[in-house]
Symmetry: C2
């Protein structure tokens, strides 16, 4: 029995961890709303439930994992992270909430807005040159020199468990679902989501969505081992990873049923649909699930399907560029 | 006593009408969410509650008034309306829900998207030439010839009462408020809102917001009678009226404390703030309240203030144009 094999495997994260994360996050993370849309249902022929993590603190699901990790550390532990995206702000915010100091390593050419937002949460920003320096090494060195604990964006059981709480809430609110559709970058969100979903509703199908140019997890599943690709060029900046994580891939290969891939054009179409029909601002990485549905890549016909809208951090001018290009 | 004078005046709409509208709309209109934002509160120095009518059926508060009116008619009564905006779709949708036929008079050059959306609700669209024909006359003639009941966009007690239910819900959810900030076009929304607010929380200040170019209600209040201006040029297309309604002005002059006016640039800044910080899509007319707060035109310091985000019907490409212009 496949199920028994799964249970026997010692996975890095389990349903208990997600449930414990949910208790830690209770009253701290926003229990984000679930949206439905007659128009979307008619368009795709199923009953769709959208979990709006764009309304999460920091504008993305990343707060869940970061807070779950940081709040599990000995009080007062300083933390460090490297990221140019949503994870950095999530770590800065989570650290400020538990009264810890945070150092975020960012590329020198990171958008001023993101640097300011990170500093706004009280974090120290350390710059590196993304063309000549290795951020992992800088992060590790800082951690050693200053006695900081690194908070990885996905390669950590507490981070994965925290991310899984979004799906846990969605499943609680929407009731039984036949499928769950989740964006895939490094794999933290889908690992946590699959753990929550298969743990609470055994028969549910878990479907990951990657950008076409960055389908490292799809290739890895096909190959049966982690495959590394060139750093993908895609508008889904949150999903620009070149390989799945080790820990996340252990979970993904056992619990995820299928990975589909969407084009940048399909992502923009989904962002426009969410904007015009549902009045929701969703960033490119956050819109891949709806993109897959609208493009007919997932069979949702007559099914109850949950979709994670993972974040909403896109500048208005960037959105304007995306929807004004001929392909949009 | 001013209060007694008010009570003695026989206004066209009262709290009872709003409460009755709320009962009619219960389970039909969406009880839209109320959003708060630490960032907004810090920026303006008050505690702000945003009523998100962009999530209402049809994408704007207009559904409330239209449904309240149409559902109060004898069953099967056909209805007619003229509008190129949110009211047309609201009438079409409300008529379809109660099983009535609807005829909507629209300018021949109305956006295809709006025409299709109106037809999508099962309404018949009758075109007129906005440069050579009078839509009021066409609407009235159609009504007479076909025995249809006209559903005016604001000059109607049922319409005003329906619009007031948004504020009623906001006041119920947010608790006691010191001020309520509401967009002003023809005056249906603010008449209903002021009726609900002063009727339930006597001491509350009711503040209307107009576009600078279309401050007909502000001028009318200053003059003590309805003043007609040239049709205003403003991006807030829902507020492009040249004079307050007769009935709405009767309510406004007694119950509204103050009108402020915002520039198109301030409106765009508010739309960008709502997009980037709150992940909400709000159309220009719907963003005037937040624009007034961000521009410092309303004293909210240390106060609990409700704001109606009246709608979210703006095309993605139009939003892109607005935020890409140098003034934005």
């Amino acid at each position: 029995m496949q199920r028994t094999e799964r249970a026997q495997k010692r996975l890095p994260v389990g349903l208990d961890d997600v449930l414990e994360a949910a208790r830690r996050l209770d009253g701290v993370a926003i229990r984000t709303p679930v949206f439905t849309s007659r128009t979307l249902d008619e368009r795709v022929g199923g009953r769709i439930f959208l979990k709006a993590e764009n309304f999460q603190r920091g504008g993305a699901f990343k707060f869940r994992g970061a807070y779950n990790k940081i709040s599990s550390l000995r009080p007062g532990t300083g933390v460090a992270s490297y990221s140019s995206g949503n994870h950095a702000q999530a770590v800065a915010l989570a650290a400020s909430l538990v009264g810890s100091s945070a150092v975020i390593v960012m590329p020198r050419d990171a958008p001023e807005q993101k640097v300011e937002a990170t500093r706004g949460y009280g974090a120290e920003v350390v710059f590196y040159d993304r063309y000549s320096e290795d951020r992992d090494e800088i992060g590790r060195r800082l951690a050693v020199e200053r006695g900081l604990t690194l908070v990885p964006p996905y390669e950590d059981p507490f981070v994965m468990a925290g991310q899984g709480t979004a799906s846990l809430e969605l499943l609680e609110e929407a009731g039984p679902l036949e499928a769950l559709v989740v964006p895939v970058g490094g794999g933290g969100l889908i690992a946590g989501s699959a753990t929550a979903a298969k743990g609470t509703q055994g028969g549910i199908e878990v479907i990951g969505v990657e950008p076409e140019a960055g389908d490292d997890t799809r290739r890895s599943l096909a190959a049966g081992h982690r495959v590394k690709i060139a750093v993908p060029r895609t508008i889904a900046d949150g999903l620009q990873v070149d390989a799945p994580g080790e820990l996340t891939f252990e979970v993904t290969r056992l619990l995820v049923d299928q990975i589909v891939a969407v084009s940048d054009e399909q992502i923009v179409q989904a962002m426009v649909f969410l904007f015009e029909r549902m009045k929701l601002v969703v960033e490119p990485s956050g819109a891949v699930g709806v993109a897959a549905l609208l493009a007919g890549l997932v069979d949702v016909s007559g099914r109850r399907v949950g979709v994670i809208l993972s974040g909403g951090n896109v500048a208005a001018r960037r959105f304007a560029e995306l929807v004004s290009e001929p392909s949009g």
